[in-house]
Amino acid sequence: MSEAELLLWVRGPALQIATAIFLLGVVVRLAEILMLGRKKDLAEARGSAVAGGLRTIFSRFVPDRGTLQRSTFNVVAGYIFHIGFFVVLFLFTPHILLFQDVLNVSWPSLPTPMVDATTIVTIIALLAVLAHRLQNPVMRFLSGFQDYLVWLVTILPLVTGYLAFHRIGAVPPPTLIAIHILSVELLMVIFPFTKLMHAFTFFMARYYNGAISGYRGVNS
């Protein structure tokens, strides 16, 4: 396969396969969770479950004081890499064009030097959280194969994207771009079957916690 054919394949058939697996998997899992249903709460309501649920989805974005003091590093590094990942994914012009082509909606982009700097910060934050995971005995004990796998597929698109943008490496740049796209497709394919699902399920989990408290008329 020539470099032009490879690039064409990852932009065409491979993206079809990855999109199909990603969406099919995510929707099946979400539907299954929703179909579990909730047991009817027979106690008298002392507040609104919906209001509590919705409030908690957002209020949990702010870490509580105890968590922040106990695991300052996890909270700060975690926020940095999550926000950085979103900035790089959604505010880089070529990426926006991809979404525009598929979803038919567009939004403004950031200047490329800013996206470039964000990429570096995000990669450093991801390396830091891995180092922390390996160094901290408790976290290392709690970590399994999947934790390292999802870390790898998260950092790969960032690293390959950086290399492709700056044309660093032994392979020709069109191949670098193809590798970058492939790394994203890898992320999409394993996404529904791993902890990466938290990107969708955390809304539901927060809503559930908030709704229980809201029904009882207390803050969650």
């Binding site: 929707v27 929703l34 249903g37």
Partner: protein, 363 residues
């Protein structure tokens, strides 16, 4: 000109001053990223060069490459050097035809065996030898025969280098590039549709000066000319970095000369010297004229997913796949959820209640 006349003599005879000649040598040296100290060496070597025999074979091509080289508005040093060193055989430019022309080719091959430069433009059809013949000889046979005694082969144009347009899907003639048929000779690819004239003469000058082929990249192209992407050398690059793009060919951005990435520019994946040497004696190049780069110096540029589709856009309809996947996922999810519920109910039903009496019986 006589066969013993040197290149320097021939150029002077045609009215090129020493100053003009040295200017060309300096420009060639700087183009090829050679140190300034090399200029006298290039001048001396070119001055003394006796016309090397060049055989130019044209296969499945449009003659655009020859036009590019010979149809400049005023006679340039490049053009004259080209005139001087060529050509024992060139279908388009030679007066002779048929048997006489073939005899000239055979004579040149015999006389300069192992020393002549073979220039090829056009791809070679393997589907049927009859698709393209010259004097009854198939392209493939003529190439194999002529390549045997060549010192080096220069594949001029994307067709000769990578198959080009004849090679584009569905490739009805089974077209292949030179490098697919010749494995035992040094091959220099000078792709482009057409290639930049100064790149062709620059490579010839390098060969005449050093007697070697220049440093090539992984696609067989001289690094000096194909080492940078159009994107990295583009004068519109600052607009790309700032996020200022032309959205259509006649909007405000297009008039202001903003980046053409969204209009499908292939500059980021295309390697050529257009943005630096430019065309028509340094006048401009396609992007300067307001049109995105087509990527003509890259393999398979014709099948690159559409000239006017931005590089980062998918080449197929992903939206439809997404809609189907969400629909199928919802259906499968609901079905699986229903199965889970049924299973839960079944288990609840099969549950045997244990009373206090049951427990006491055992004692």
């Amino acid at each position: 000109m006589s066969k013993d006349e040197t290149l320097g003599e021939a150029l002077r005879r045609q009215g090129i001053s020493r100053r003009g000649f040295l200017k060309f040598c300096a420009a060639t040296a700087s183009l090829m990223a050679l140190p300034p100290g090399m200029v006298p060496a290039i001048a001396a070597a070119l001055e003394k060069a006796r016309r090397p025999s060049v055989i130019w074979l044209s296969f499945q091509e449009c003659t655009g490459c020859t036009e590019s080289l010979t149809r400049s508005h005023s006679p340039t040093v490049e053009g004259l050097i080209f005139d001087t060193i060529s050509l024992d055989y060139h279908h388009t430019l030679q007066a002779a035809s048929g048997t006489a022309a073939e005899a000239a080719r055979e004579a040149a091959m015999e006389e300069n065996y192992g020393k002549y430069i073979l220039v090829v433009d056009g791809s070679i059809p393997l589907g049927n030898p009859g698709f393209s013949t010259i004097a009854g000889i198939s392209n493939k046979n003529m190439l194999l025969d002529t390549a045997k005694g060549a010192a080096a082969i220069i594949s001029v144009g994307t067709c000769a280098a990578y198959g080009g347009i004849p090679h584009a899907k569905p490739n009805p003639t089974g077209a292949v590039p030179v490098s697919e048929l010749i494995k035992d000779k040094p091959i220099i690819n000078i792709p482009g549709c057409p290639p930049i004239p100064v790149v062709i003469t620059g490579v010839l000058a390098h060969f005449l000066t050093f007697g070697t082929i220049p440093e090539l990249d992984e696609l067989g192209r001289p690094m000096a000319f194909y080492g940078n992407s159009i994107h990295d050398r583009c004068y519109r690059r600052p607009f790309y970095d700032k996020g200022l793009f032309a959205e259509t060919f006649d909007d405000e951005g297009a008039k202001k000369g903003w980046c053409l990435y969204k209009l499908g520019c292939k500059g980021p994946t295309t390697y050529n010297a257009c943005a630096t040497t430019k065309w028509n004696e340094g006048t401009s190049f396609p992007i300067e004229a307001g049109h995105p780069c087509l990527g003509c110096s890259q393999p398979d540029f014709w099948d690159g997913g559409g000239f006017y589709k931005a590089l980062s856009m998918p080449t197929e309809d992903i939206t439809r796949t997404a809609v189907y996947a969400v629909g199928a996922g919802a259906a499968a999810g609901v079905a699986l959820g229903a199965l889970n519920r049924a299973k839960k109910k079944r288990i609840e039903k099969a549950h045997e209640k244990v009373t206090i009496n049951d427990l006491e019986k055992g004692d």
